[in-house]
Each structure stands twice: as C-alpha cells, then as structure tokens.
C-alpha cells in the first residue's frame, strides 16, 4: 500500500462550515453572553500526556460520579429514621421483626424496588473503588515525585479527599442500621468516650442522649448526603483546577522537557478517552453490583445492642486503625479521679491523626531536606529517589501490617493459628516491618540504578549467544537506541554528600547553619543521597563505548548476517514502517 501520503479521510480537511450553521449561531449567542471563545482558545486543545498510571486518579474521579448518581437514586427510598416499625415486606425471614425504619427501608430498596439492590451494591462497590483508587493514585504521585513543587498544595487537597472519602464511607455503611454497622457505631461511641475531658459530652451530644438514642442515623445521613459530598465536590473541583493550571506532569523522554508538555489534545482524543473511560468505570461497577453480593444487610439482621456477630469487621479502608486497636495492650490510667484510656486513645484517636499529618507533610518534609526550590514537571522513576521510595514502602508496610492485624481473628481461623501469638507477633511486626521494608527497598532501588548504568555503559542483552573458536560462549550486547539512552540519563545528579555530618553542594560550599535542626537536616540529606548511584559521567560513557567497540571487533569474525536488531524488539526492522502489526 502507499504509505507516503495520508488517506483522504482523516484529519486533513479543515472543519470550516461553508455557511453559517445553527450550531454557529448558538455559539455566537453563548459567546456574546459568556465569552466562551477566550476560554476555549486556551483549553480545547490543551495537551495531556499519556501514561497508564495517569489513569488511576481518573478511576477515583469517575467512581465518585457513579457514587453521586447511584446515591441520588437511593435517597428516593431510604428513610433515615430510627423509629421502630414491624417489617412486612417481601423478605420472608424477617417478616414480623421489629426494626428501625432505616433498616426496613434498606430491605425495601433491596427486595421491593426493582433495580434497588443493584444500585445499593453498585454504590457500595463504587465506594470501595473510590477509596482504593485514591490510595493507589496517591502512591503513584509520591513514587514518581509528582508531589514536588509546584504541586504540594494539590497533594494536600488530595490527602483531604482521601480522609473525607474514608469518613464518607464510614457514615455510608452505618446508615442501614444493621447489626454489623450498629456494632461499628457502638465501637465509635467507645472511641468518643475515650477522649479526655469532653468524651462523655461529645457522645451525649452526638447521639442526642445516651447511646444508641434515636438521632444518630438521621444525623449521619445529613453528613453523608450533604456535608461531606459538598466538601468532596468542592475539593475535587479545586484538585482539577490546579491540575489544569499546573498542566500534567510527564515522564522524561525524547522531546519532553521541564518547559513543555507532549501528548494528545483535550479535544478530541483526551476527551474521548476520558469520557469513554467514565463509561467503563460505570460499567465495571454495574458488573460488580450485578454479580458480586456486597453488604447483605438482610443476613445480619437489624441492630440490637445486646447482640453481635463473630468476625465483626469494618469495611477494608477502616481496617488499619481497627488493627491498631486490636494489638494495643490494655493500658489505662487513673489520674486524680479521671480515667485515661490509652488502649483506645492511642490507636484510634492519636495514631490515625499522626499518620495523616505525616502524609500531609511529606512533600514539605522532602523539600526541606533537599532544599530544592525548583519547579518539577518531569517525573522520576521510583528507583532514582531510593530514600523517598523506601519511605513510602515503609509506610505502606506499616499500613499493611496494621490492616492484617485488623483481621487477626480471620487469620487465626483460616490458618489455624493462635490469635494470641498473631497479636504478639503483630505488636513487634508493626515496628520492625517498616524498618526492614525501608532498608530492603532502598537497597533494591540502588541496585536497579546500578543495572541502568550497566546497560548504559555495556549495552543491553540481545539474547544472541555466540560461540568462539575456543568453544566459549558469550552473549552479544548492543548499545541502547539513542532515545532510550537519552531517557535513562535525563535526570539530575544528586548533590554530593560528604561523609557523615556535613553536606556540601556541587560547588563545595558547606550547608549553612549549625543548629540541632540543621544537624538533623544534614543527616537526612546524607540518608537521602549518600548511597545513590549516579548516572555515568561522560568519561565513563566514552570508555564504555570504546570497550564495546573493541569487543565488537573481537567478535567480528564470528558474525552472522543477522546483527541482532531483528530479534530484540528495540528497533524497527528496516522495511517495517507500520505499527500495530
């Protein structure tokens, strides 16, 4: 076929209308009132770079939209009342049972409203997806260094979205007033009562008197459908506006610099891909809601404060503080006639707040340690910031261990282990695990950096094994294609860190300040950079190339007509000009 010119059908003719159209007239009407053209000029062809990992935040955004849509549907039938009624609906096993109107209406939605169960299950699945994708998106951002200047505030907004999303989930699964969620609220009452000084007052005000009262469901309802969604919407809007203002980060590569952004235009490609992806996220939640049962409240039955089920667990994203609560030793102290419940306060009221503050501050801590005041729009590979990567992996490990501790009873039953031993193990593991994870990850990253240098200096493995006349076998290495070599080396060298206590910058000037804080900073700088492998110097690179040429000469006599490029997947074969075949 003729590949020298473009087919006539694609994007070659200007989209100028031959005569004034109705759409044009409408556009004119709107622009004369709203000035849309000025905005459109800037944004319609706005460039978004392409990478699969940039899709994670999109999952969060779209699952939030699914939550709004399915949530509105549910409000049409849900009755947020703790008034007692006798159930007379379709679900036979509970007919005649006394329950709150909230639980009865949840049964009604599940059994008597057509599509109600689907919407309930989609709502719950989308909530899980929402929180999970926010977390993974957060990890992606941190691991690639996208939280650095100028995006620190967007990181803060993202963290607020995560915590609000988690609270939104908790208030949401508490609403049906089933036995499981009621147990969750009861535990929450215990947490509140453990607050020093004001605990009892807060509990009585929140529950409208003594637990359980009859106010908590309507109050959680208004928080769930008005207060938090309003905040979430506002913060999502701010998150998006900042994204548009900063323009998306991109991976380094040919033609990509700190001053440009390379990718596809918003209209049409990005709009189509993102819009299409909304339907995919929506469709996947529909599939989950149709096929996989979630939170079958009719099996738990209505809340009764004298009953509980074994294996009581919150939704997974509330699991880690619950795990901390489980492995905390039972310490309580009495001071001047007042009780302080360390066993509840530390794991539930203090630990999550501390973890959240650490999360919020990560970009600022890093900027303080590195002293970096430049804008960064090119992403880093996780291996090229070993200490940062190791920090997040340590936090993830701690999270994971706390989370596993939240299922210690399930682990004990499934694996036939002693719950006591699991608990003792976890007490140690949440301290030791993160330290180990930090060390291993940091060294792992450094090894990967070394591997990159190896490839740059000695070429990549072609998979072609050659036999010498003496019978020895060698694998042929070939130099990397120019674009790959450029991408691998398109990064900074880390500042030199001199010995243990004194950091000097590239010009050999000692870091200023000698205070205790400055000492800490110096030590952290050392930790940040001291063992990192830098990309090769020009001399090393030249030497490497000489060496490769020499080796090539030695192998020349052994050459087969195939030079290796045909099989390596790094190069296009000469006549092959089309992609996708």
């Amino acid at each position: 076929m003729d590949t020298s010119k473009v087919a006539t059908s694609n994007a070659t003719t200007a989209a100028t209308a031959s005569k004034p159209s109705k759409i044009g007239a409408l556009g004119n009407w709107a622009d004369e009132r709203l000035g849309l053209a000025a905005m459109g000029k800037k944004n319609l062809r706005k460039v978004f770079p392409d990478h699969w990992s940039f899709m994670l935040g999109e999952i969060a955004l779209w699952s939030f939209v699914v939550l709004l849509l399915t949530g509105v549907f549910l409000t049409l039938w849900f009755v947020p009342s703790m008034g007692e009624v006798q159930y007379n609906g379709t679900y036979e096993q509970l007919r005649g049972v006394h329950m709150s109107e909230a639980f009865a209406s949840s049964l009604n939605i599940s059994f008597d409203v057509r599509g109600g169960l689907l919407m309930r299950q989609m709502h719950h699945w989308a909530a899980m997806l929402f929180v999970a994708s926010m977390m993974i998106h957060l990890l992606r951002v941190f691991f690639t260094g996208a939280h650095r200047k100028p995006r620190e505030l967007n990181w803060v907004i993202g963290c607020l979205l995560l915590i609000l999303g988690t609270l939104e989930g908790f208030t949401g699964y508490s609403l049906p007033d089933d036995l499981l969620s009621g147990t969750g609220i009861r535990a929450a009452d215990g947490f509140i009562k453990a607050s020093p000084v004001v605990g009892t007052y807060m509990s009585f005000l929140l529950f409208g008197g003594e637990f359980p009262g009859e106010s908590i469901i309507p109050r959680l309802y208004v928080v769930h459908i008005l207060l938090i969604p309003g905040l979430l919407l506002a913060l999502v809007a701010a998150h998006m506006l900042l994204l548009v203002y900063h323009k998306h980060t991109q991976w380094p590569g040919p033609g990509r610099t700190e001053k440009n952004v390379v990718g596809y235009p918003m209209l049409p490609v990005y709009a189509a891909k993102a819009g299409g992806f909304f339907f995919i996220v929506f469709g996947v939640t529909a599939l989950l809601g149709g096929l996989l049962s979630i939170n079958p409240v009719w099996k738990y039955g209505p809340y009764d404060p004298s009953k509980v089920t074994a294996g009581s667990q919150p939704d997974w994203y509330m699991g880690w503080p619950d795990g901390a609560l489980r492995i905390m030793p039972g310490i309580e102290s009495e001071i001047w006639g007042h009780t302080i419940s360390w066993n509840v306060m530390l794991p539930i009221l203090i630990l999550p707040v501390v973890m959240f503050i650490i999360l919020l501050l990560l970009p600022f801590i890093e900027a303080w340690v590195t002293g970096d005041k430049r804008e960064h729009h090119l992403l880093q590979r996780p291996r090229n910031a070993p200490t940062r990567t190791a920090t997040m992996v340590a936090l993830m490990t701690m999270y994971g261990l706390f989370w596993a501790a939240g299922g210690n009873d399930i682990i004990a039953i499934r694996l036939h282990l002693s719950i006591n031993q699991i608990t003792y193990f976890m007490r140690a593991a949440v301290v030791i695990g993160p330290v180990l994870a930090f060390i291993i990850t940091r060294r792992w990253c450094i090894s990967l950096q070394r591997k990159d240098n190896e490839t740059l200096l000695h070429g990549y493995e072609t998979g072609i094994i050659m036999r010498s006349p003496e019978g020895g076998y060698t694998e042929r290495h070939l130099p990397l294609p120019a674009s790959t070599a450029y991408t691998l080396t398109a990064r900074h060298r880390d500042p030199e860190v001199n010995g243990h206590h004194e950091a000097v910058d590239a010009n050999g000037v000692a870091a200023p300040g000698t205070g205790r804080l400055e000492g800490l900073r110096t030590r952290l700088r050392t930790l940040m950079w001291s063992d990192n492998v830098q990309k090769p110097t020009r001399e090393e690179l030249d030497e490497g190339h000489h060496h490769a040429e020499h080796e090539h000469e030695l192998q020349a006599g052994l050459d087969h007509s195939a030079d290796g490029h045909q099989f390596d997947g790094h190069h296009l074969v000469e006549d092959e000009t089309l992609r996708g075949h």
Partner: protein, 362 residues
Amino acid sequence: MSTPPVIDGHGHDEPVDENLPERDDLYANPGVHEHLWRPTDVDPKAEKRAERQVATLFTLSALCTVLFVVCYVVVGPDETLAGFGAQNLLFGLTLAGALLFLGIGIIQWARKLMADQEIVEYRHPARSSDEDRATTIEALNTGIGESGIGRRPLVRNSLLGAAGLLGVPAVVMLRDLGPTNAQVTENPPFPGSGITNTIWDKGMRVVRDVVGTPIRPEDMQIGDLINGEPEGIYVSPWDGEPLEGVALQVNKSKGAVVLVKMEPEEIIPGTGRENWSVDGILCYSKICTHVGCPISLYERTTHHLLCPCHQSTFDLADSARVVFGPAARPLPQLALAVDADGYLVAQSDFDEPVGPSFWERG
C-alpha cells in the same frame, strides 16, 4: 488539522537552583518521536473496518439498554437464574453491557480513527510575573489604604471583635443536640438513665434474652452460658409496661448480662464478692469494657469469654479478669441472689459503670 511534531534539540531547558547541581545531559535530546501512521490512517480497508467496529459497539450498547428495559418489565422479583436472583443479575449484566460497550466504542474510536499526532504545549511557571506581582501589590496597598483599616484601629478591632463573636452562637446553638449525662441522671426520662447506672436493682429478676422468662438456678448445668436481660425491660419498674423505643435500646445496651455456671470450687471469688454467686452461677455485664461490643464467645473448659470485635478475653472464674487483648478492666459483676419464688435476681445495680471507660469514670 495536524500539528507537526516539534523537534526540541535544545537539551533539557529547565530552571536552575544554584545550591543543587544542574542537569548535565549526556545525549542530545533526540526530539519527539517521528509520528508513524497507523493502518487505519493509510489503509481505507482498515479504516472502514475500525469504523464498523465502533458502530457495532455502539449498537451493542443500545441493544443492552433495550434489554435492560425489557428485563425491568418482564422479570419478576422471585425468579432465579443460575442460582442468582434473576432481577439483580439481568439488570446488572444489561446495564454493564450498555455502559461498557459504549465506553469501549468511544475509546476504540479515539485510538483507531481520531488523529494521533502528539502535540507540544509550553508550560509557564506557576508564579505570576514580577510585573503582575508589583501591580497586584500596588492595587492591594491602594485598596487597603483607601479603606483606612490600618489607620483606624478602633474600627478594625471592633469589626474583628463583632464578627468573631458571631462564631459563639454557631457553637452555642449546638447545645441542644442532646442532654448531658448530668441531665439524664438527675431527671431520668426512663428507668436506668445515666452513664453510671443501669436498670438493674435489688430484687430484679434475670430473664432470658429474647423470650424474657425468669431463670431458676437448677435450670442451668455446669458449663452453661445464658444470655440474660434485666426483667425491667419487659416490666418497667415505673409503670409495669414493657419498655419501647429509646428506653428499650438504651437499657439493652447497658443491662445485657451473661450467666455462667461452673463448679463452685473453680471460682476464685473477688474480695467482697464471696456471696455474689448462687450455686456456682456467676453474672457479668455482657458489654465489653474496651469499646462496648456485646461479648458472647465462651470457652467452657477455660471459663474464658472472648469479645468478637477486638478479642479481649476475660476469665469468668476470676472476677472476669482480663487475660488477653486490649481491654483494660474486668467486666463488671452483678451480685446474684434467689428470690422467694426461687428465681435468680440481682442483689443491686452494678457497683461500677458498665461498658467502655470515660473521663469521669474515676
């Protein structure tokens, strides 16, 4: 319209910080990859095929939507399909089909048929230009100066005071969210009100959970555990009527107990609790002292009671001492006696508050 790829050969082109090493590039920036035409760009057959694929996907989506409506009308609530509830399964599958085919179709359209040249846009620093900054600061200073807020501290301070004070009603008005513990203890709206007491009282029978029948000591065998309730929730000590609504829920959440019977010689009675048991029958609050879950998992050979929420374990033979887990205090014990009719009754209310700890507990 296609924008030709920009070949940017000027190195890395980025901001510099004099305290950090500048980026040295070992290779010249090769510039954006040359654009390669896709089969659908150069082969009309491939293009037509892609077009048909996209249209087919959209058609399948529409078909699923129609099927959804058909299912909505046709499928009854009790029908099952392959062990699933037919309604939920069919609604879910048809809706998922309608959405997924639409989404996949749009993305296929974008990937195969829409122009796929990468284009380059230039970034601007997030900060405003020096000129903008100067103008803004000047405007701000002019505005502040004209308002006179700096020159008239009396106006400024009284404004701040008045506006700040408006926060007080916002907090004060939350006061009626609920009564305090002191209020419900002093003027109980129903029997058993207040965080430090329960409905239990001298002579109140322990009755079986759910059915509400009283219990004789001889009804229980060694090793038995019975979930009990105060009789007062069935027969209010105030008016003899059963409790309802909030009164019932609150009293269930505080008054629930467990009765266990063990060999009398296995019991290690606490100080002053020597006569709290009847024939080896002991009675404890069912509400965990950790965060308040009702406890129910009993191991009869060890007399251990385990909380299913956070695994606090209590030794019921030894005044419900905590033997494992995060709870800090033993379960409160209810002193038992037998009334004239031979039924188990309480000697009094619990001698300490039940449930989780709180500041004023002491």
